[in-house]
Symmetry: C2
């Protein structure tokens, strides 16, 4: 049995996230159906590197599946793309050892989150950014962000309905850059709690715009209290950029 590592990109706008669910369309379902078609198999099971939420995007999403098919790995993206909707694209496939698992073997992940800080929305970026018109002070954002780098209990930034039980994660880096009206956050951590990136970015935007006090970040982080953080930033600004193994 071969084990194939497959790299995808997808625009999550029209999907209820990665994971298969009843009665809604998901990316996993589309990929499994596409692989089923090209391999002429009833059900191919694909293991993804993470569950992304509805509306969240991925530029480099890694998943894996088993097959007995003899097709050379590098041909799989070409075949699969003929069976996928155009907002999901496969662009790399390779044979990997059978103990490779896209989720459990992941060492760290990079996410980006994009904010449009301008009076009016953008017709082209509407599904890719959080449009936040109020002025954001990047000095305040960076001051607060610096406290989140390193190893911390990140429970403050976890959705209340999450089921995770290990709260300590290491944030290798958290940067915030502004280019014109576009603010891009880039986070690199060894793992993430549920909704952690979106709650961190919601908090940093609130601190940058004075809704919350940026000087309070150390206390907010130490409180382990979700109510001290800002809102969960909307999903469309979030992109899973890269997974390291």
């Amino acid at each position: 049995m071969r084990n194939i590592k497959l790299t995808l990109m997808y625009d999550g706008t029209f999907y209820h996230g990665w994971q298969r669910q009843k009665n809604v369309v998901t990316v996993q379902q589309k990929v499994e159906e596409g692989l089923g078609t090209i391999f002429n198999e009833n059900r191919v099971i694909v293991h993804g590197c993470s569950r992304t939420d509805a509306g969240v995007h991925a530029r480099e999403y890694v998943c894996s599946f088993n097959t007995e098919a003899k097709i050379p790995a590098e041909k799989i993206p070409f075949a699969l793309n003929t069976c996928l909707p155009s907002d999901i694209r496969a662009y790399k496939a390779e044979d990997v050892p059978e103990d490779f698992h896209a989720q459990y073997r992941a060492k760290s992940k990079i996410y980006s989150y994009t904010v449009l800080n301008a009076p009016h929305g953008d017709a082209f970026l509407r599904n890719r950014v959080w449009h936040y018109p109020r002025k954001i002070d990047m000095e305040k954002v960076r001051y607060a962000a610096a406290f989140l780098e390193g190893k911390h209990d990140f429970r403050t930034f976890m959705a209340l309905d999450a089921s995770q039980t290990i709260f300590e994660k290491t944030m290798y880096s958290l940067s915030a850059e502004k280019d014109g009206d576009i603010i891009t956050f880039k986070l690199h951590a060894d793992g993430y709690l549920y909704n952690m990136v979106r709650i961190i970015c919601g908090t940093l935007v609130f601190m940058g715009s004075g809704v919350l006090n940026h000087l309070d970040m150390p206390q907010v982080l130490a409180s382990l209290d979700r109510r001290r953080a800002g809102i969960t930033a909307p999903p469309q600004g979030l992109v899973l950029e890269k997974v390291f193994y």
Copy 2:
């Protein structure tokens, strides 16, 4: 009666172009309906700077309309955006003399056309580029493009069903740049024949990839024969970038 110049951007993916038509949704219709709502008028008539085709985009689309409303011009985009779908955004409005007309007063326009020259499509750019996987030689593209600058009869590059009767246009500049897998054409002319940008870009891509001979461009241009040109490049790569008055 005030005459208002309004600047919009729109993602044309889900519209049958700018101009109002029966039984299909167009950008003009949405803008006129939105203005009708904010001014509480039955029908506001908007004059656009050009008819864009279905699927074509605009980053700076200029239109104008008359109104008796007393709202300050700079407030109009904020009010209008609450009544427009998110893929159409108004971002500038100003009072102009009554003889201003968005189409007849336009001195020149800049269009861009974008090609994704890569083996696989791009999930994010699917509605914004022509995905053309065959290798494109930029030297050949630029060699051929240079012959199109200046004043010419551009009939070779006009759709056969066009109704225009003045074929001479001045192409101030036509550039082709490659950045990674993305090729961007930028055209600046005092006017355009129907489908001219798309046919020029289809021809240049064909010449760059060897489907047509790039050395033939002078003869193709001089032939005034649509059959000598390449295909009409698909609409989604085209963006009206700027209109000069």
